[in-house]
Symmetry: C2
């Protein structure tokens, strides 16, 4: 697998003909009733093992539903860490399951620390598991990371990305309402904090051996088109970075906004949507047509693909 | 335990008469040979379960060595996550062990995400474990968090801090060499990014019900005195925040630098040191005197206490 991650992601998008990613970030109390019943989860306190088992079963089914339609999945570890050791084991198994299903797998972990420490996160969350590792699980193809420490917090991830054909997406402009509290601060040299982060990340992304034959680096960026003008600036500043674009769907980003994250040739970004797909069975639009929650998820995934094709001109 | 965390930390510092914290961030290959031997860890690949068991035994002994001397311990989860589910279980057990030993326990987790997600991290890493939770473990008294998302990424932690008498330390000025790449950017309104983060965190820290009777909030800050001038500014900007001060010892911060993090009355900060204490058995200064690694750790902890008392005038 030591092909460049940028090349692999571009190829996966081309193969499925849509720059779409499904986000898997499931809350226990929103799982299908059938899954909860099968794991004996009712009202009241939830046992960690039972919760992790339910997330695992549910995740496997979601992966099967979406794998034919989209090139990538983003699994957010927070929803698994919620159940401590059992949850972490479930996360790793789902990473492996998604890779086996042919998806590009992004571990949404948003880590960073000083170098000596971040090296541990990088080994744990992005590297191939060592020989003799007890239990199942495989590392994802890429992870998300936080830029606040500068390059020290990111370098061990980049090292593994380079050596093992993996990737990372550095947070640049996030989708949440309070993002501008820090990211939107105006700099005396011009522009904002997140634009300067973008400039810095473009520098990291064009380091030795990171840019693939398609012109995209193994180092990408998380960019929400929350601010249209800023998104234009960032797209311009980061020609070698693939943008992982959150906020489409439940978080309210529109088609026009999302389109800003792509280059004029339609490349350079992949759009991710979670709640609209993974909870489709709770949406009348789908549940009126089928009582099988899997069919609802697969149908919603098909609609996500249609929507993103329309937005991006694929 | 629903006393204010600021009050609890101040009381713990007073009781031990030193604002010192030992950092527990152990690398397997630097553990005492006796611990490695006891867990069958030699050269070559390390099984996750064996590694987690070794970290657990070692951590328990370190906690016993330091608990009589210092008020607090900071356990960095990265070094445990390295061994996935087994490591996370060991982390939680050590948090509980340290609390049982009477230490204020800081979980060094450096998390943040958008609100919907960070709520999961906050539940997992700071809240009381739910009834019926399988396995041992308890939440720490406080955790570290990352400010890049603004208040959205932090609010669920603050909520738990308020309700359960817990605390958090928001990254403001970190100790690593590349910190200024982002944190040091100059703002058009004056000052730098990390100073503005400090100003914003002071605002969060003085929210409803967060400041205790000692004048310190349950919301503190990670401030390394890497830049002396900036540290003065930040100390001034954040009167209600206790600073968790990394970098003393292995990371090279001097006594004069560390002293900048305290107010003139000697309050307002706690200094943390890891490698100088937890690997003391590999230091000739200690190993020449004792072949028992625990005695080396305890002696080094005593020296850390002496050093910090001297620096801070306790």
């Amino acid at each position: 697998m030591p092909t460049n991650f940028g090349d692999r992601l571009v190829a996966a998008i081309r193969k499925k003909n849509v720059p779409a990613c499904v986000g898997l970030d499931p809350l226990i109390d929103r799982l299908p009733q059938a899954v909860l019943d099968a794991h004996g989860i009712g009202g009241g306190a939830v046992d960690s093992e039972a919760a992790a088992d339910a997330l695992r079963s549910y995740g496997r089914e979601v992966i099967a539903c979406i794998a034919p339609h989209v090139p990538a999945i983003k699994i957010n570890i927070a929803f698994f860490e919620r159940y401590h050791a059992a949850g972490v084991a479930a996360y790793l198994e789902l990473v492996e399951c998604a890779r086996d299903a042919g998806l590009v797998v992004i571990g949404d972990v948003k880590r960073a620390d000083i170098g000596h420490t971040t090296a541990q996160y990088a080994q744990a969350l992005l590297a191939d598991l060592p020989e003799g590792h007890a239990g199942k699980g495989a590392a994802p193809d890429a992870v998300t990371v936080n830029p606040y420490f500068g390059i020290d917090g990111i370098a061990p991830f980049i090292e593994i990305a380079r050596e093992q054909g993996r990737g990372l997406f550095v947070l640049v402009q996030t989708s949440n309402a309070s993002a501008d509290e820090i990211q939107g601060l105006e700099l005396s040299a011009g522009g904002t904090v997140c634009q300067q982060v973008g400039r810095v990340v473009q520098g990291w992304a064009t380091g030795d051996g990171l840019v693939g034959s398609e012109g995209y680096s193994a180092v990408g960026a998380v960019v929400s088109p929350r601010d249209l003008e800023s998104t234009d600036v960032i797209r311009e500043l980061m020609p070698n970075c693939i943008f992982l674009v959150p906020g489409f769907g439940a978080q309210g980003r529109t088609a026009d906004e999302v389109a800003k994250c792509f280059k004029s040739d339609g490349s350079g970004a992949i759009v991710t949507s979670s709640r609209g797909v993974i909870y489709a069975y709770a949406n009348d639009r789908y549940s009126a047509e089928s009582s099988d929650w899997r069919q609802c998820v697969e149908k919603a995934c098909g609609h996500l693909v249609d929507d993103i094709r329309r937005v991006t001109g694929y």
